[in-house]
Symmetry: D3
Subunit: 69 residues, 6 copies
């Protein structure tokens, strides 16, 4: 199965915590890689983002899907 999602980051589960309906999973990522982000052109111009800049990718935990082989 091939996914349209551009970011598939491999790791190992380091913790699982269960609630009544939700659960929290901590994943230890073993090696760095490339992250692809789609943002508004307005943001790129406003922040003046260009090749070589130091930036951070911010991801809310609810947006992450996990996959097990």
């Amino acid at each position: 199965m091939q996914l349209s999602a551009r970011n598939i980051i491999d790791g190992k589960v380091s913790d699982v915590e269960l609630g009544a309906v939700m659960a929290k999973v901590k994943i230890e990522v073993s090696k760095p890689g490339i992250i692809t982000a789609l943002v508004s052109k307005e943001a790129i111009e406003d922040l003046n983002v260009k090749k070589g800049d130091d930036i951070s990718a911010i991801i809310k935990s609810t947006e992450i899907i996990i996959a097990k082989k």
Copy 2:
């Protein structure tokens, strides 16, 4: 500024591509870290996710916010 988002991944912009309204940014991540995911308890039980499992975190590119210092 402190964020509720649990995943803040540092890197360097390796490519920027502009559309009319959207833009795509490639970020080269320098060092691995911990990813926190919030999923349904049902999924954890169905996939039998437990400490030590090899799993992947899947993130759609539109879900990523970028930050510049």
Copy 3:
């Protein structure tokens, strides 16, 4: 009220499960329809998605809003 969201899928509630803050709802969909997805052009080219292909739409449960008439 008309929504910009392209996917409005009618069904019947088959189960509700309450947590402290979150709740899980199961919806039995009665008839098939059309799903509209917006993904990166990069993904379409990488997966070579074209008319007639068998594909799956993957949706995380937290991304779904429910509406009652």
Copy 4:
């Protein structure tokens, strides 16, 4: 590969439209199924959602990942 995402809906691509950075895909779903939604308990109580209710699942197109076998 098993996914934590609770909604995997099979269909056939009926249209693909490319922009500069984004693309729109129309998927014809062949058979109805079950949709799982995670919402706030507050919403369930406010809308008085219960078994047997007619409801709609609303999904923004940007939230959909596609998969090809």
Copy 5:
């Protein structure tokens, strides 16, 4: 139609900009209100969020659905 989404913010369109597949809409909000956010308990504890604190709600533009009466 009643929505499970807790945030429905009324305003007036001040600008529309079309791309090939996407569009950007600016909405001038007329009066302030209450915003409901669902985050991890971990974030609340880590940021020590409590009644009376000055905080900001951060929302990526792709996460917003628009509705017209």
Copy 6:
């Protein structure tokens, strides 16, 4: 830190409610502002959204990140 997210809405915490894994935060917004939404061009044409229209921005609570200074 500058964010690509176009919507940063200031307010005061009026309530916090903790679950096992998730938490709900109510934020009282003090002054109105501008909301930026990215939707499909198809939706803009279908709803005939144009300057001056009265519209609503709908945001699911799980999509909101909070920030504390």
